[in-house]
């Protein structure tokens, strides 16, 4: 099996799907001739032409508005927002239009749109090249939200996202764009949205993460094991739909949970997971659900290492939770 990094896996998925389905179109800033600032769309315009791989003017609202019109008309657009930090000019189109089209039209119009965007910190991007805004979209019914943590998942999840009948925001953790390498099957395979992966079975505490932070969680779990703490690690992969059964099954078993995310703590998705767990596993809980997250500040530049909820902080939370 070929070894790829996340960018290559994304590129592979896009190419395969564009070959299979003429309705798939890619649009965004610098995605065409150049192939994207992270090269995720490299070679696509050369293969599929400027009609299906389009460099747009610099306006995210226009990109998503136009992609929405394409999707309404029956295409399967894949829009790229150059950085998740720059998705907000399209926020109205995403939250008020894309998310509500199916409902408000009584099912007469749908928006099978995929929005790809590099997200998260760890690349020295400071305030505006590091944000993790997933919670904003998870609070918006009608949207699906996916975050891969490996090249293998990136390809299988992106293919599912493009074929999904509903709009999907596909966050690509740019910190692991090149860092995460792994075997990726050739040809197509689908990873269904809404299935978490139990990447490490355990009995003492449930550790929940996604995207780049899964790698930190995994390292923390290894270090915990060395200390005799038996961690069950879940990679959510898809946050909406959420695999709530996998979470509750694990917490009912372990009685303890630690949630990890990069975004600021207040109103992050960790809050929702914490609420869901204590609503559904209250009698099994032997310790409060712990949140290891980014802090309630803008994303910093120099103090990035301190800001990110990395393995050492996760490990401390695991210790505290099992000894609560």
């Amino acid at each position: 099996m070929p070894v790829m990094n996340v960018i290559q896996a994304v590129n592979d998925a896009l190419r395969l799907e564009m070959r299979r389905d003429p309705r798939v179109v890619v649009l965004g800033e610098d995605v065409g001739a150049f192939g994207g600032v992270f090269r995720a769309t490299a070679g696509l315009q050369q293969e599929f032409g400027a009609m299906r791989v389009v460099d747009t003017p610099l306006a995210e609202g226009g990109i998503i508005g136009a992609a929405t019109g394409m999707a309404l008309y029956g295409l399967r657009p894949v829009a790229e927002i150059q950085f998740a930090d720059f998705i907000y000019p399209a926020f109205d189109q995403i939250v008020n239009e894309v998310a509500k089209f199916r409902h408000r039209s009584g099912g007469q119009y749908t928006v099978p749109l995929t929005i790809r965007t590099p997200y998260g910190g760890g690349i020295k991007g400071g305030h505006y090249h590091s944000q993790s805004p997933e919670a904003l979209f998870l609070h918006t019914p009608g949207l699906k939200v996916v975050v891969p943590s490996s090249p293998h998942d990136a390809k299988g999840l992106l293919l599912s996202a493009i074929r999904d009948p509903d709009p999907v925001i596909f966050f690509e953790p740019k910190r692991i764009y090149r860092a995460a390498k792994g075997e990726v099957p050739e040809g197509e395979y689908l990873i269904p949205l809404g299935q978490a992966a139990v990447t490490r079975p355990g009995t003492q505490v449930t550790l929940i993460a996604w995207g780049a932070m899964w790698h930190e969680a995994d390292q923390a779990a290894r270090e915990a094991e060395a200390e005799g703490i038996d961690v069950e690690l879940l990679d959510l992969r898809s946050l909406q739909p959420l695999d709530v059964e996998a979470i509750t099954a694990s917490v009912r078993k372990t009685g303890r949970a630690v949630v990890v995310h990069e975004a600021p703590r207040t109103c992050g998705f960790g809050a929702e997971l914490s609420a869901l767990i204590q609503e559904r596993c209250f009698l099994s809980l032997e310790a409060p659900v712990a949140r290891v997250t980014g802090f309630d500040t803008p994303f910093p530049y120099t103090l990035e290492a301190e800001y990110l909820p990395r393995a050492p902080r996760i490990l401390q939370a695991l210790r505290a939770t099992v000894t609560y």
């Binding site: 998503i64 394409m70 309404l72 409902h103």
Partner: protein
């Protein structure tokens, strides 16, 4: 998308004084296109391209649209529907444009173009059921009245957020080009909407991609209480096309024939690959913004007066009369016919059960309801079983 500048830019040496526009310059450069004057006569040099049968048919539609608006406003005052927003005085901008399109052309409405949906086959009953938001509502009572959708006629879902439909229309045109379809979408919006983000991105994207789109700006002089002169100091809306390298045109929006002819030309150009057009349809909002608005608070009655003479329906009536296509008897018969049609539709629409089933709230959020929607439906059903007040509206508005 790369393009080469064919012309070498000239250079000047006189100390920089930025271009100021002589007052009236763009009014002159964008004269208002008119075919039928306020007395129903063809203006000098104009000819009637619209077939007389079409003229008569559209006259009836305009009368129906006007009568519907008036009737529904009364209905709202009676408290039988919660809200209404119509197009009184702007009928020519709605019927004239859409009648000039091909049946496969998609319509991206703002919220006054109900008439466009009727032209595309939306039954009056279905429209009225949407006003009641009852079980007959094709959008299942999910949006406010006047937010209908009619996919069978390619009439795209109405939403409240201003101007979002412009970029969506651009995307549809783009998709049609990719598919090789002969489809020219039209996006409707008002003068106030030209200030919105999506006006800028919509026109720019369409021009850069040279897409077949018609941007129909109903310049009715007002955005709720804000006059169009406070939205922009450009003398016309049409000249905004210049900034996008796009075609722009001013049309008498109260002249059905001019609107129809200009739209037809725009559609021909678009289909021929000549790109988008911005049509400024100069009209006037004769009533309040909607039933929620009382214009007396900000608009003296006098300013409306001069526009009464320009009424789009009167104009066509006079033209038809002059051509012997409609006499008083015919007019009376037509109006009675329309009255009965509306009455019948209203009765039928009001007869539906007041609410779509509870489950409809949780459907169409996603193609398949997720566990949250399924659990919450069960939760709500249980709550209502335990206490019927949970489903009692009086309890809310009280």
């Amino acid at each position: 998308m790369k393009r080469e500048r064919s012309h070498k830019p000239p250079v000047r040496a006189d100390a920089g004084t930025a271009r100021e526009w002589a007052p009236g310059r763009f009014l002159a450069e964008f004269p208002i296109y008119r075919v039928v004057d306020e007395d129903g006569k063809l203006v000098a040099g104009a000819e009637l391209e619209m077939p007389e049968a079409e003229l008569l048919a559209l006259y009836r539609w305009m009368v129906l649209g006007r009568s519907l608006d008036e009737r529904m406003i009364t209905l709202q005052r009676q408290g039988r529907i919660g809200f209404y927003i119509g197009a009184i005085g702007e009928e020519a901008t709605v019927f004239g444009t859409v009648a000039a399109l091909a049946p496969q052309d998609w319509i991206f409405p703002s919220y006054r173009e109900h008439g466009a949906a009727f032209l595309r086959g939306l039954p009056l009953v279905t429209f009225m059921a949407n006003l009641f938001g009852n079980a007959g509502d094709i959008v299942k009572g999910r949006q406010m009245p006047c937010h209908e959708t009619w996919a069978p006629g390619h009439f795209v879902s109405i939403s409240s957020p201003i101007a979002t439909q412009l970029t969506q229309a651009v995307g549809a045109a783009w998709a049609a080009r990719i598919q090789g379809d002969d489809m020219v979408p039209i996006a409707f919006f008002g003068d106030g909407s030209t200030s919105a983000h999506d006006f800028h991105t919509g026109l720019n994207f369409a021009a850069v991609m040279k897409l077949p789109v018609i941007f129909a700006c109903r310049n009715n002089g007002w955005a709720i209480s804000t006059p169009s002169a406070s939205q922009t100091v450009s003398e016309t809306m049409a000249q905004k096309a210049i900034g996008y390298g796009m075609r722009g045109e001013r049309v008498d929006g109260n002249d059905l024939v001019a609107v129809w002819t200009a739209t037809r030309r725009a559609r021909q150009r678009a289909a021929a690959g000549e790109g988008p057009t911005l049509l400024e349809l100069v009209t006037y909002r004769m009533e309040g913004h909607s039933t929620s608005d009382d214009p007396r608070a900000y608009r003296p009655a006098e300013v409306v007066e001069p526009w009464k003479r320009k009424d789009p329906i009167m104009r066509v009536k006079k033209l038809l009369a002059a051509r012997g296509l409609l006499d008083e008897a015919g007019e009376a018969a037509l109006r009675e016919e329309v009255r009965l049609e509306l009455q019948a539709a209203l009765q039928e629409a009001e007869a539906f059960p007041p609410k779509a089933p509870l489950a409809s709230l949780f459907e169409d959020v996603y193609a398949e309801p997720g566990w949250a929607q399924r659990e919450q439906l069960a939760e709500l059903e249980g709550a209502i079983d335990a206490d019927p007040r949970v489903a009692n509206p009086r309890h809310v508005e009280g």
